[in-house]
Symmetry: C2
Subunit: 297 residues, 2 copies
Amino acid sequence: MAGSLFEAALSEHASDIEKALDRLLPRVEGPESRLAEAMRYAALGGGKRFRPFLVAQSARLFAVNSESALRAAAAAECVHIYSLVHDDMPCMDDDDLRHGKPAVHKAFDEATAMLAGDALLTLAFEIIADPATHERARVRIELVRRLAAAAGARGMVGGQMIDLKSEGAPLDIGGITRLQLLKTGALIAFSCEAGAVLGRASVEAEHALHAYAHDMGLAYQIADDLLDAEGDTDLMGKRAGKDAAAGKATFVSILGTDRARAQARMLAEQAVQHLDLFDERADLLRQAAHFVITRRN
Amino acid sequence: MAGSLFEAALSEHASDIEKALDRLLPRVEGPESRLAEAMRYAALGGGKRFRPFLVAQSARLFAVNSESALRAAAAAECVHIYSLVHDDMPCMDDDDLRHGKPAVHKAFDEATAMLAGDALLTLAFEIIADPATHERARVRIELVRRLAAAAGARGMVGGQMIDLKSEGAPLDIGGITRLQLLKTGALIAFSCEAGAVLGRASVEAEHALHAYAHDMGLAYQIADDLLDAEGDTDLMGKRAGKDAAAGKATFVSILGTDRARAQARMLAEQAVQHLDLFDERADLLRQAAHFVITRRN
């Protein structure tokens, strides 16, 4: 079955990225060892590693060497993980559970969680800036520029701010779309484009990947809202139903379950069409678009 | 008087960096406007701008153009400011006052403060990565690499972690020295070396600036401890006496006031000697070493 083949590929890649993160994260030593411990606790041993997978698959289209792809993938994942660590803290979403284990601020403490998040974000840029990521400085700095833009005030953090403010003042469909394009879409787009940057791809190829990321990212988010509305906490490894509890509008609360599901399907199909200029090396990206709307957690 | 001439130069530069930050910080617009507001509140209208001054003065030694120097200086300041915003939060130092006004988490809220800090750190890398910082990608990526190393788990954040852990378990003089070299010294060293990177200086010049930064940074910190032990809250614009209250060892608690003051003076003199290979263009850096041990806030 295509689905389980895809999941096998995803899981194989997850184990590669786990090893890369283990290698790139600071060692646990010295009086600051608690920081490295918390970073490792947050980063290792869990998660679908979906963003790193997108980096690896986009890199594959342009025959980028695997060390370059792994390092860019690890950087994207560090940014994702730091955002989860900070998001879970009491002053934000106040979630005690992440990937089925206590969140960093519960396993350690709030101060350590904040510092571990800060250090993971910083590490992302340190990883990319290292010459081991790509021999050309121009390629490395372009990745830094895009990652910073995707992660910052006009990207992910801006989306988190809108998300916070939307509690009690629900957004309309346009507002939610923009929120999600910033909060999750920007880093997904970075992940899909990173391979094109590393492979010095044509503008046309890069635009196709950007369009793919746009539609696939929204499909991913609608599926997330569906899971949050219907999912169970044990399977997801994080608290379900929390958007409704926070009085937040979601794609599902506005569109209803059926229309939301149809919209996700339409976006996933559209995402696949953007890949028409690529050969069979894009097949896992095509399957990924299907996967995001059928996943159970 | 040399002292007041130096302070005039510092204050003139502070106004340049204020304008640069105003230009580089995101505009207050859109549903995420609260984030930009908090970033601007944290970054504008206060502070000695000592790190940016060091960037500008080191850049001056190598005739770096002023836009390049200002941008690198703004990036260093963004990292410094983000660290203050996070440091002031209740889970860290729990300080309500910064530069004589309410800390960001008091003026806004904790979630906004955390996100504003995250976005300021990210902005630092975005500023450096922009081609406007330097025409050569190699120079920009070297700045990113060094800033990330100075700010991360093996630099500033590592130092913050040691600082947190030292509450109730006071460090010895070696431990405090290492803590401060990480917590404040690494970003000061980045600031002193940034000009050399931008100006593609000789290794010899760079090493001299690194050695200067090392001694001047420690002198700065000892002076800070002296101010904390003796200073008054009104003049400092932040709470005084907090190290003693937290049961932390400091240079002053271990060495005593007189020896600490003598040590700071010795380090400042040593810092100046490292600048012997530079001509009169290094005079403000020489005066800076004197300034850090005589300042009143």
